[in-house]
């Protein structure tokens, strides 16, 4: 029932600014693709191109098998949540939500049922008679959601649909979206800046940067095997620690010597990594360690490939469940994630333990994962 989406060699320019610079992307029918990328990289533009809200400069957009470059939005059978909501200011919440069903001549009872279901789910059922101007930001966003959800189109496009909701609501919305997707099996393209949303919702994540797609794969792969420094640095919050240094051989085995702390610290590399890097002794590398892989020494049960070192705590940031500790190696600031009860004041020495089996190695020049 659902249709896939295929973009090929897609380009879009506004005046002289090229915004989408040749995107190839194949989304399977029924897939849930999350699009992430830095602000301004072209995510919304890409959604607009899929929806037919902007004309393609060159390349192809296909929905299902059909080439839709010249198909107007209303014939594409999509529903969309706009980043800017774009509610109809003169219509009530009720009318905003049912408008799309009206235009598609869905029977009145079905409309009412859908309205009832989703306004309840979105917790806006007490606001149905209001105009958008009388709503709070988050309420408006939920109306925008409602407008998209009540329909059962081939493709859903969501542009940061939960960004203005509180954490609790966001989690429940996220769950509902997931359920809905499972129930309906429609193709979804979803833009978000929320790490957890991306990881939990996506069947595949597309990481965009500056009009290109850098990596496209399942969440675990994106998180665990980023293809390059950009993806590695982009996914994860706080992001992966990137420690530049050099590969050296010491006492027969390969170690990583961070710049600026060559004398002091040598990270022994786990065998899986060092096997791959055998030939590259002396190469400029970047060692990537996620904050959660660096913790207070001795708090976890011992395991293989652990490495313990001592550094001075520079900044302590309690975030509630965890506390972030900022410290430096050479010129590089790193963040470790520790349990709140393990945190120490800034200025004190602290013993860190790093799980090097979770570390990544990148080529410093090309940025490619090795």
């Amino acid at each position: 029932m659902a249709s896939g989406i295929r973009l090929s060699k897609l380009r879009k320019t506004f005046g002289s600014t090229e915004v989408i610079k040749g995107v190839d992307l194949t989304i399977e029918p029924g897939e849930f693709v999350v699009l992430v990328g830095p602000s301004g990289c072209g995510k919304s533009t890409l959604l607009n191109l899929i929806a037919g809200l902007e004309t393609v400069t060159s390349g192809e957009v296909r929905i299902g098998e059909a080439l839709v470059n010249d198909t107007p939005p209303r014939d594409r059978d999509i529903a969309m949540v706009f980043q800017s909501y774009a509610l109809y200011p003169t219509k009530t919440v009720h009318e905003n939500i049912t408008f799309g069903m009206q235009t598609r001549r869905i029977p009145h009872e079905a409309q009412q049922a859908a309205l009832k279901e989703f306004s309840k789910l979105l917790q806006i059922d007490h606001l149905l008679a209001r105009k958008p101007g009388q709503l709070s930001g988050g309420q408006r966003q939920r109306v925008a959601m409602g407008r998209a959800l009540v329909r059962k189109p081939e493709v859903f496009l969501f542009d940061e649909p939960l960004s203005n909701l509180d954490a609790k609501l966001r989690i429940s919305m996220r769950t509902e979206i997931k359920k809905l997707h499972q129930r309906l099996g429609k193709t979804v393209v979803y833009v978000t800046h929320d790490q957890i949303e991306a990881m939990t919702l996506a069947s595949r994540i597309a990481v965009m940067d500056n009009g290109h797609i850098r990596q496209f794969g399942p969440p675990g792969e994106i998180y665990e095997h980023p293809v390059d420094l950009f993806v590695a640095g982009f996914m994860g919050s706080p992001p992966m620690n990137m420690l530049p240094g050099r590969l050296r051989r010491r006492d027969g085995s390969l170690v990583f010597e961070p710049h600026g702390a060559e004398a002091e610290l040598h990270f022994p590399l786990p065998s899986e990594i060092s096997d791959r890097l055998d030939a590259r002794e002396g190469a400029e590398l970047v060692l990537g360690m996620r904050p959660e892989a660096i913790f207070a020494a001795g708090t976890e049960l011992p395991g293989p490939n652990r490495f313990v070192f001592e550094k001075t705590v520079e900044v302590v940031e309690p975030t509630g469940p965890d506390t972030m500790i900022v410290f430096s190696i050479g010129e590089t600031e790193l963040i470790a994630r520790v349990r709140p009860e393990d945190a120490r004041e800034a200025g004190t020495r602290f013993r860190f333990e790093v799980d090097l089996s979770k570390a990544k190695i990148f080529d410093a020049k090309s940025g490619q994962s090795l």
């Binding site: 010249d70 198909t71 107007p72 800017s84 909501y85 958008p132 930001g137």
Partner: protein, 297 residues
């Protein structure tokens, strides 16, 4: 300013679209004919000689084109005892219309702005009362107005005429701007207030640049009304300071003299040229997307 198309939304292509575009242009074209037909008659009459008009059918195209009537209308038709056409009166109208349009538009804009964006108790009442001025018949205000101008020492002066047009234009300009500003987001004004801008700065720097469409329709309206006004012009100016409509009227109307239709038509078109110029110039500012990107929601 560049004309932005609607949103960039993809339009269908193919025969269906060709059909749609075709009928679109057909309708637009038919209306063009409706609007143009009288003008064509006027223009063709103005290019005929008087002899041809007398014998031919009035609606036929000219057999021999002559621009004599145009020349005559411009600088040798008699307007009372002087016979130098409309030329000397054009400037009178400009000198009256331009200040009156600017003044009434500005005041109307400020009025509309204060009444919608700085609402105070009774604002709607005041608006309604000002608006009602649009319906007052000019015939009934002529004499009291003459009296007032006489008392103010403005009788027979251009200043007086500007005052009259400004006062009675206010209802319309306020209406246009008020109704435009109702749709301008309050959020932007709030941001400007927080940015430390006061009443006038917000007006001139924030609101006015957003209201170009309103300015355009207001200027078009006011200019047309003031330029084409005859009654006030005739009642409140004297002789050589008459606006061009009075002169046009004098060229065209004759009670017992010979009717020179070709000159009449040419004169009417000439008198309308400045207004058309305003339409063309102001029309270029019918732009889209002035409020794009302002607020989310």
């Amino acid at each position: 300013m560049r004309q932005r198309s609607i949103g960039g939304i993809v339009r269908p292509k193919g025969w269906h679209n060709v059909l749609m575009r075709g009928s679109l242009f057909l309708v637009l074209g038919l209306f063009c004919l409706y609007y143009l037909f009288p003008l064509i008659v006027m223009a063709s009459t103005s290019l005929k000689s008087l002899a041809e008009i007398r014998e031919g059918t009035l609606l036929s195209l000219p057999r021999a084109i002559t621009f004599e009537a145009w020349g005559k209308a411009w600088d040798s038709a008699c307007v009372g005892v002087r016979c130098d056409g409309l030329k000397p009166f054009m400037w009178n109208s400009v000198a009256m219309a331009v200040p009156a349009v600017l003044l009434s538009t500005t005041l109307g804009a400020i009025n509309g702005y204060a009444l919608t964006k700085w609402r105070f108790p009774g604002a709607d009442w005041i608006f309604a009362m000002i608006l009602f001025g649009a319906f007052i018949p000019f015939q009934v205000i002529l004499l009291p107005m003459a009296r007032t101008l006489g008392q103010l020492g403005l009788a027979g002066t251009v200043t007086g005429l500007i005052l009259v047009h400004t006062v009675y234009g206010l209802a319309f300009t306020t209406l246009f701007f008020r109704n435009f500003f109702v749709g301008v987001s309050d959020g932007i004004l709030q941001a400007a207030k927080v940015d430390g801008a006061g009443f006038f700065r917000i007006f001139f720097q924030i609101v006015l640049p957003m209201s170009i469409p309103a300015i355009v329709v207001t200027v078009i309206w006011q200019f047309t009304q003031i330029w084409n006004d005859f009654l006030f012009g005739v009642a409140f100016t004297i002789g050589d300071s008459n606006p061009v409509t009075v002169a046009l009227n004098n060229v065209v109307n004759t009670s017992t003299g010979v009717k020179e239709y070709n000159v009449d038509m040419a004169a009417a078109i000439i008198a309308a040229l400045p207004t058309m110029l305003v339409y063309v110039v102001a029309g270029a500012w019918f732009v889209r997307g002035l409020s794009a990107g302002a607020v989310k929601g």
